[in-house]
């Protein structure tokens, strides 16, 4: 089980707000830290991998549970 350094709860928020908040949160991390993004907007399943790819970070794991999502992002730059 991945242990995140920080958890970002974006429950109830819709695209593009979860990505905006993810960017703000990742900016505060140190290299190699893990951010867990919690969301219930399924658009994040498409948006976050794309954001990670374009910003050089790694989407380490995605967990889906009954309409809620937990995505683990490692800061790689």
């Amino acid at each position: 089980m991945i242990q995140p350094n920080t958890i970002l709860d974006t429950y109830g928020l819709l695209c593009p707000v979860p990505i905006i908040k993810t960017a703000e949160a990742v900016a505060q991390l140190s290299y190699g830290d893990i951010l867990e993004v919690q969301a219930d907007d399924d658009q994040i399943l498409e948006d976050l991998p794309a954001w990670c790819a374009s910003h050089g970070h790694t989407l380490v794991e995605t967990i889906q549970d009954n309409g809620e999502f937990r995505l683990f992002v490692r800061k790689d730059t």
Partner: protein, 386 residues
Amino acid sequence: MKYYDHSSAPLIDPRVIDSMVFYLRESFGDPSGLHQLGIEAREAVEESRRMVANLIGSELGEIIFTASGSEADNLAIKGLSQAREKYGRHIIVSNIEHHAILYSTKTLERHGFEITLVPVGNDGIVDPDEVLRAMRPDTILVSVMLANDQIGTIQPIHEISDIAHKQGAIVHSDAVSAMGRLPINVKNLKVDALSISARYINGPPGVGALYLKAGTRIRPQIEGGTQEGGRRSGYENIPAIIGFGKAAELITNEFPRRKHRLKTLDALFWNGLKNRLPEVSLNGHPIQRLPGHFNLWIKGVDSESLVLMLDERGIAVSMGSSCMSHASKASHVLIAIGRNPAEARCSLMVSLSPNTKESEIEEVLDTLVNVVHKLRKIMGTNNPQI
């Protein structure tokens, strides 16, 4: 015109108006924009947010600006319930809440939530034991207003919060009517959410806020933008937000003086009225109420006639609740504290401002007493039911 309807529609402080003018005339930047004008607008909004947070003892990120106290209430009741419905679908509110709360719960009922209306005593106070009795394992939210907008009764919110939290529910309080008359600190109240509004602290209409404790989930009710962190979309009413911040700053600095002044005027008005007019009493708790706020039961007098006759003589007051004046319905609050519909129609709301002069109080008492005597003489023959 002598104005005594400050609990319904307080006057805007001239210093608040001055703070807004620049943002009405010259500053037109979008706070979401990346250019300098946008950055300036963003900084001004955040400074106002800081003032509002400071007023109620919250953190900056815990303030969500809305268009009104009613909107904050809707966001709280619907948004918090929808966010927590996997834990349960039972909500508790008092039966004297503002209609923004009660009608929001009715909407949730239509979607399968269960609502318990906790009754109040004849003094308008919610007994925390009644809340405890109403709690269930599936209770997710308790909402009780800090002070009632009609009778001014102040509720034991921190005790209610303790009860709700012990059983896993979160707590919201509508503090709109308490603003400017009571000190408000969200940590002391132990609430998870709190509705406030600018106009009750002599700020502009069209802006309110919901305090939402960090880590509390909410389902946004207005979607489609990124404003307010996505929790309340829609282009910000920047001049009104600036005015709200200024009003919050002024109240924070001037509250001790206001509190003392309102208490002095309160005693002057109430003692003066009792000495001059027989058969008049206060609706609600005589002591645990907002200073300078009176909901009067005046025997033998129809309140609509009283309001109109006082208006003819240059005195503005209101009957029942400000929202329902045009509907001419008996106030649900007055019915809840045991008044029958006929008695509810004999009730009058008078609310003082810290800027009210002692000489004005003497004048309004003289006029009020004079008009009541006239009406009692007329209605004593025409309305035997009162």
